[in-house]
């Protein structure tokens, strides 16, 4: 069972600054534990939706660090808009979390 993400979306003008913290081991398939290779286990796709419309999608590899952080900016966002982030890893595991865009300080 995948752990929840931490998502922050803060408005700066009409641009939402979205920062996502994901809990994932991101195993490279290179590491050994007790003499055995730890199998590849990494996030493959990430998609972000703003009010149901996909605004960001990425194919990523095992080169990304453990517990990765993704940050991106979305134009035309308003306070209260819904941001939904989904990742899928190579074992087929999936996790979706959401947040609402907050007005910046």
């Amino acid at each position: 069972m995948a752990e929840p993400m931490k998502i922050r979306a803060t408005l700066q003008g009409d641009v939402a600054d979205v920062r996502v913290l994901m809990a994932h081991p991101m195993e490279t398939g290179q590491r050994k534990a007790a003499g055995k290779v730890v199998p590849l286990h990494f996030i493959q796709t990430i998609t972000a939706q703003l009010n149901g419309r996909t605004v960001f999608s990425a194919d990523v590899s095992q080169a990304i660090s453990r517990n990765p952080v993704f940050a991106f900016k979305v134009k035309g966002a308003k306070a209260g808009d819904k941001i939904v982030i989904t990742w899928t890893d190579n074992t087929g595991e999936k996790r979706t979390d959401e947040t609402t865009v907050r007005a910046g300080s």
């Binding site: 752990e3 929840p4 931490k6 920062r19 913290l21 809990a23 081991p25 991101m26 590491r31 534990a33 730890v38 660090s65 453990r66 517990n67 952080v69 940050a71």
Partner: protein, 271 residues
């Protein structure tokens, strides 16, 4: 004659601010590292462990199927807010001074029925597993974010712990004839590019508390102060102290009391 004296005084006054500035001017390399750290702190994966720790705190677990919500961290049963900044302290029910992690381990044993052997089997995080007390301590520490460090020294046992901790800090032994003070007992020491703060000075002692528990980017693991102390002893080629032992609580009492009055910024991030 009088004129010369006034001039001399003026020169002394003029020299003083310069001297002060040079003593306080941060090393440019260290300043760059601080900037780097500030950026990292905005997205600290320690938050993930904080969330996990909170979940563990509330979950009914262990042979006794109980949550930790009745755990007394020194401010009354179940009070977590601000407790971390006020530890180590003396706990009458345990009859000893305990640092925050030792207290959490104590609660896991008494409330949830876990055995010490079970918890001490793998006390520190590695790439494959983060032990539960590490997530729990991250959650508890985060509830003291922005608060002043105020480890008490009211009970005689707390003052004893401070003196014992101080003795441990200065105790030289082992293959290298090392003590904690060999690295952390004088100003402006460093190991490679890492500055080594002088924990005997109140102004720098906060460095022993700040940033812990910390997420270490090397390996991507969460570490607590228990690990930091253990690893310092290992590096000194000392026998490693027992997990959550009185020895470590005493040493942490010495370090924390020296840092009293500084503001704790919550779980940190390390290289």
């Amino acid at each position: 004659m009088r004129h010369a004296l006034v001039l001399g005084l003026a020169a002394a006054v003029a020299a003083a601010p310069w001297l002060q500035a040079s003593a306080q001017a941060p090393d440019p390399t260290a300043a760059e590292f601080d900037k780097f750290r500030e950026v990292l702190e905005q997205d600290n994966p320690a938050e993930l462990f904080e969330a996990k720790g909170e979940e563990l705190w509330r979950a009914r677990r262990g042979p006794k199927n109980a949550s930790l919500e009745q755990c007394d961290l020194g401010l009354g049963a179940g009070v977590v807010k601000g407790a971390y900044a006020r530890m180590p302290r003396y706990f009458a029910d345990a009859g000893r001074v305990m640092d925050a992690e030792a207290r959490i381990v104590h609660c896991m044993m008494t409330l949830q029925g876990f055995s010490y052997a079970e918890l001490a089997k793998q006390p520190f995080s590695n790439a494959s597993r983060t032990p539960d007390p590490v997530s729990l301590i991250t959650y508890v520490a985060a509830q003291s974010r922005g608060m002043k460090v105020a480890a008490p020294q009211d009970h005689p046992k707390e003052r004893d712990a401070y003196e014992t901790g101080k003795a441990i800090f200065f105790y030289r032994a082992g293959a290298f004839d090392f003590s904690c003070a060999s690295c952390h007992g004088a100003d402006d020491k460093r190991i490679r590019t890492q500055p080594l703060p002088n924990f005997t000075k109140p102004a720098k002692a906060i460095a022993a508390v700040q940033g812990w528990p910390g997420y270490r980017m090397t390996g991507g693991v969460m570490h607590s102060l228990q690990w930091r102390m253990n690893d310092c002893f290992r590096q000194q080629r000392f026998p490693e102290p027992a997990y959550a032992s009185e020895t470590l609580s005493a040493l942490l009492t010495y370090l924390t009391v020296n840092a009293n009055g500084h503001v704790y910024r919550g779980p940190g991030i390390k290289r």
